[in-house]
Subunit: 208 residues, 2 copies
Amino acid sequence: MHSPDIPDIVIHRLPLYLRTLTILEEQGQAITSSHELGAHLDISPAQIRKDLSYFGEFGKQGMGYEVGFLISQLKRILHLSHAWDVVLVGIGDLGRALASHSGLKRWHFRIVALFDKDPQVIGQSLGPLTVGDVADLHAVVSSRGIKLAIIAVPAEEAQGVADTLIEAGVRAILNYAPTPVNVPENVRLHSIDPVASLQSMAYYLNEE
Amino acid sequence: MHSPDIPDIVIHRLPLYLRTLTILEEQGQAITSSHELGAHLDISPAQIRKDLSYFGEFGKQGMGYEVGFLISQLKRILHLSHAWDVVLVGIGDLGRALASHSGLKRWHFRIVALFDKDPQVIGQSLGPLTVGDVADLHAVVSSRGIKLAIIAVPAEEAQGVADTLIEAGVRAILNYAPTPVNVPENVRLHSIDPVASLQSMAYYLNEE
């Protein structure tokens, strides 16, 4: 479905466009422009037009973009027209916060299975789900065909959990563990790293 | 101290180089190369050399980089030679996880003050700290001169908390709230958005 020639950085910006368009739609706006989107996102209008042009012709010169149409097209491009099942591993404080994340639910990323290795945590209920034993992770992920996973385990367990997930068929991992994780080329990985975020912001702070 | 001509994206990559170099140093490695760093990070060696060249001449042609020296230079460039005080607002599950994040401590981002608005949470102890009343947020941040903040409050409170932090003197915000936050141009903002991460990864998943 997708062209391998489209840079990852373009794909990373599409959710930002989708989010901004959704806010505009909620505010009742029917038409927008690359200038308006760019002002909201601090991205140049030319960049936005170029990014979108990889996927087709979504606006008319001088007419802008139809908000609802562009939302539906971005959802189609990003494969968000259907819900995605997600497995969450690591039910500490962070895992609990993610299990009830309002944005995930809203965007149809359904957390359908929870796992932990702590006997105190296994068997606990979180909303409609019961925390399973990480020993069963491979069997459940594989039998249910789950392709997306979120890892929220301690650093020393992250690589092992990632390996099990990938063996079981997971193809995209969102890693909240405070450590790098290695994945093969055919698996997507995003790592949430508050340290890297704070470090790059600290660069800008010392002038004062 | 910093040149405004260096693209943000370059600054965002410096922590990745620093992290990889630190792992190599822990493994006892004294010399590395842009090829080795690039292989670890999936970034081209040419890009790494170009990024580093904004800040000086850190390696010798054909000789590579001295790991310890490059670490110390990156720490200097990113203003990480001293510890940074950080205020954390929102002590739910996510806030608790961040308060004990091993990476933050290790990299000398010291969470020195915690705030919440819930009377049940205010006054609780988390390690050596006691959760303060968010009503005192402005006074504490301003009197202690705190410049870095992490927001982990519900979506509907995020903008108000950000505004208070900025009025009190905060200049960089790491936003975990599941909503966009607006900040003035002189304030840095990073938003942790698991939805955007999952959405951009979903793009790559549908071929199978």
